[in-house]
């Protein structure tokens, strides 16, 4: 790295293990003041662990951390905050049953403790000091009622309110639209102008290249590369992770015109829009209103459920809340939809089919009875996908199926979708990832809203 710049934060030989897995293996890195340093790597590589150790959310087994050349050892995130480090976690860390205003207020109260909660003063204060670049969600709305996009915005605003010297964004662009990312980039540039240090954790390579000055690449708990961004080649990064050389097969589309169903959609401003789904196709669905896109998937699922002869599945956008049972084992999560079918009563059949899924999807796990919670995000998503494969669906609705997963998982899921499509299965894909659309889609449907009449 550029040695002319001052090192603000230094991680020295940090090791962290969870039970038998090594999350961080003797990691040493430094962060330059006033620069954007990205940490890139697949899920489970140790990115978040590293950050949590810096912020006092986790304790390292070994090693030390220096802030401005002073050794630090935060016990809580609050301590880190008081020392000028703010952190926006992947799950936003918001208080869902409180309003936007209360969330900002409580966060802010950590640094300037008050007893009296004055709504009027807080409203004025927030109006005055908030970042004008990013849209700000309705201040009186309860966070539970915000969309994922709005929650993400609120999280970013909250992190900015602390005026910290170091701001850490952990996968903070996952729920942003393209335009939202542009705004986010402006925010980051503004921070750089004020000589603030930004740490950006992401698995989106394009965004990493667009934002960063420095790049750290982490794989299986080790730093495998660190350099200034100009010296790193994107292709070389991808190769680092695709050791198995997964070729995403873009096969010729199997033309099969046997129509499965025709559904009529009526939502908000879109009325009476009919969609025909045939066997063996991947339809991408889009509206010109990005906030509506995900909702579309759920509504379509509700409609399709009424076709008695069709077996319809859905992979919802929020893995943790909507598609896995965190208290159940891997096996139970895979079998939950099919267990009542007669053919799955047989123990051997159960074993065989889950073994096949595991092999097909390259699932990494220790034991079938292991809790699903011990797996990384990518492996969890494979299980969600595998569950539907077992149920032998006709149509599968995919909402952001590879958001927040690593390249390897993405490749496996894409390959499997193409394979199943060629066998005659149909998919409806709703995704903000344009690359994903290009690779998978056989047909694109854009629903246009009626112009608003004044």
């Amino acid at each position: 790295m550029d040695s002319n710049n001052k090192i603000i934060l230094k991680v020295h030989r940090v090791t962290k293990t969870y039970l038998s897995t090594i999350a961080l293996d003797d990691v040493s890195v430094s962060f330059e003041e006033g620069k954007v340093t990205s940490i890139y790597g697949p899920n489970g590589a140790g990115k978040s662990t590293l950050i949590k150790i810096i912020c006092g959310e986790e304790k390292a087994d070994n090693g030390s951390i220096f802030l401005n050349d002073k050794k630090i050892n935060f016990k809580t995130y609050k301590e880190a905050l008081k020392n000028g480090i703010s952190y926006l976690p992947q799950d936003f860390g918001l208080l869902n049953n409180l309003t936007v205003l209360e969330n900002i207020a409580i966060a802010h109260n950590q640094l300037n403790p008050n007893f009296i909660f004055s709504k009027n003063e807080l409203t004025k204060y927030i109006e005055k000091t908030k970042s004008k670049i990013l849209p700000f969600p309705d201040i009186n709305k309860i966070v539970k009622k915000l969309s994922a996009y709005e929650k993400q915005l609120l999280g970013i605003h909250k992190a900015l309110f602390f005026n910290s010297d170091i701001i850490i964004f952990d996968e903070s662009t996952t729920n942003l639209t393209k335009n939202g990312f542009k705004k986010f980039k402006e925010v980051v540039e503004e921070l750089k102008k004020q000589r603030e240090t930004v740490i950006f954790i992401s698995h989106k390579l394009d965004e990493v290249f667009e934002l960063s000055d420095n790049l750290l690449i982490i794989k299986e708990g080790k730093i495998v590369k660190k350099d200034i961004i100009a010296k790193i080649n994107k292709k070389e990064v991808i190769d680092l992770f695709l050791s198995k050389k997964q070729n995403i097969t873009t096969s010729t589309t199997l033309v099969n015109d046997s129509v499965l169903c025709i559904v009529n959609l009526d939502i908000d401003d879109i009325s009476n829009f009919s969609i025909t789904i045939a066997k063996g196709e991947v339809i991408t669905l889009e509206t010109n209103n990005t906030t509506l896109n995900q909702k579309l998937g759920y509504i379509l699922f509700d409609k399709l459920k009424h076709f008695n002869n069709l077996n319809v599945g859905i992979i919802p956008a929020s893995r943790e809340d909507e598609s896995i049972f965190t208290n159940l084992s891997i096996r139970d999560n895979l079998l939950i939809d099919v267990i009542q079918m007669p053919e799955f009563r047989d123990k051997q059949k159960q074993k065989d089919s889950i073994n096949k899924i595991a092999k097909d999807l390259n699932l990494v796990f220790r034991d079938w009875k292991q809790s699903i919670n011990e797996l990384s995000g990518g492996n969890k998503q494979k299980i969600v996908f595998g569950k539907w494969i077992l149920s032998n669906f006709d149509i599968l609705i995919l909402i952001e199926p590879t958001s927040g997963v690593d390249i390897e998982t993405k490749g496996v899921i894409h390959n499997k979708i193409i394979e199943l499509k060629n066998e005659g299965k149909s998919f409806v894909l709703i995704t903000s990832d344009e690359g994903e659309q290009e690779v998978l889609q056989t047909r694109k449907i854009t629903l246009n809203q009626k112009p608003v009449l004044n």
């Binding site: 959310e57 809580t76 995130y77 609050k78 905050l81 976690p89 860390g93 918001l94 208080l95 869902n96 049953n97 409180l98 209360e102 969330n103 207020a105 409580i106 966060a107 109260n109 950590q110 403790p113 008050n114 007893f115 009296i116 909660f117 004055s118």
Partner: protein, 293 residues
């Protein structure tokens, strides 16, 4: 709902609508009302306190025994308040430090405190003699009795606490999501403890008023208080999964239960129908809450 009930009962029997009767309802329900205020905080943090009835009995009995043994009332009040806080503290500590579910910890305390009451009283009621407390508690200015007044004042204080202070907001945050509350720098154990302590404190207040109004303490006092209090809080819009509820809601919930009881009594409806009706109302209010949230 409260307005509808009052109108319905008023049409059926105009006696119900007499101002004196309405004040009477407020007064009769202010003791359980005070207990319900404390229960509101506990339910907001996602907890539950089943021990309230027994704690009312114990602190009341302790107070009566101290007074009947010649201790000045003022000091006896302070000691019984400390006892109430102590029960809240033990409940909270068991839940935070022992990681015991609130339901179990307070269920145990419910039995223990009741047993303690029977032990110190020898299962007999204890009179506080001709004390000045009785005349103070039974004082009434323009229809507002002392218990009503205390209930209203505590309602206002706790309303301000929940809505106008950060500490109040913290309680809501903890009930919504403990992990997120921790991440946002909230001292979750401390504020959980605080909610149970306020719950215990409210029980002490209620018990002193109860003993004062009866001029004696009964070993069986406060039975089923936990049920009525939880009902009032839930009718007032709180969610038993935590993070939701309000003091004003609870205040109205207490009055709704009181109005139903009083209205049905005036109509000469046997009391077992009242229990059936109250049970139904609790279930319906939870159903409505689930439906709309």
């Amino acid at each position: 709902m409260l307005a509808i009930l009052i109108i319905v009962f008023g049409i059926i029997n105009p006696v119900f609508l007499k101002i004196s009767n309405l004040f009477n309802i407020l007064s009769q329900n202010s003791i359980i009302g005070i207990v319900s205020l404390g229960m509101t905080l506990v339910i907001i943090i996602g907890g539950i306190d089943l021990s309230v009835g027994s704690v009312v009995a114990f602190t009341g009995m302790l107070f009566a025994i101290l007074v009947s043994n010649g201790m000045p009332i003022f000091i006896a009040i302070i000691i019984s308040i400390i006892a109430g806080i102590g029960f809240g503290f033990i409940n909270g500590a068991l839940i935070i430090k022992g990681k015991i579910p609130a339901f179990i910890a307070t269920l145990g305390m419910m039995s223990a405190a009741r047993g303690g009451t029977l032990l110190i009283s020898g299962s007999k009621s204890v009179s506080i003699g001709n004390s000045s407390l009785n005349s103070i508690v039974n004082l009434s200015i323009a229809g507002i009795t002392v218990p009503s007044f205390v209930f209203i004042v505590l309602t206002i204080i706790l309303f301000l606490f929940l809505n106008k202070t950060y500490w109040g907001k913290y309680l809501y945050a903890i009930g919504g999501n403990e992990k997120a509350a921790l991440f946002n720098g909230i001292n979750v154990p401390l504020f959980t403890l605080l909610a149970y302590i306020i719950g215990g404190l409210m029980c002490s207040f209620a018990s002193i008023l109860l003993v004062g109004s009866l001029n004696s303490a009964q070993p069986q006092a406060g039975q089923l208080y936990e049920l009525t209090a939880i009902a009032a809080v839930v009718i007032g819009g709180a969610s038993l999964s935590g993070g939701k509820g309000s003091i004003i809601g609870t205040f109205i919930g207490v009055l709704i239960l009181g109005v139903i009881q009083n209205g049905l009594s005036i109509l000469n409806v046997p009391s077992y129908y009242q229990y059936i009706l109250i049970g139904t109302i609790i279930i319906i209010s939870v159903l409505v809450d689930k439906k709309f949230n």
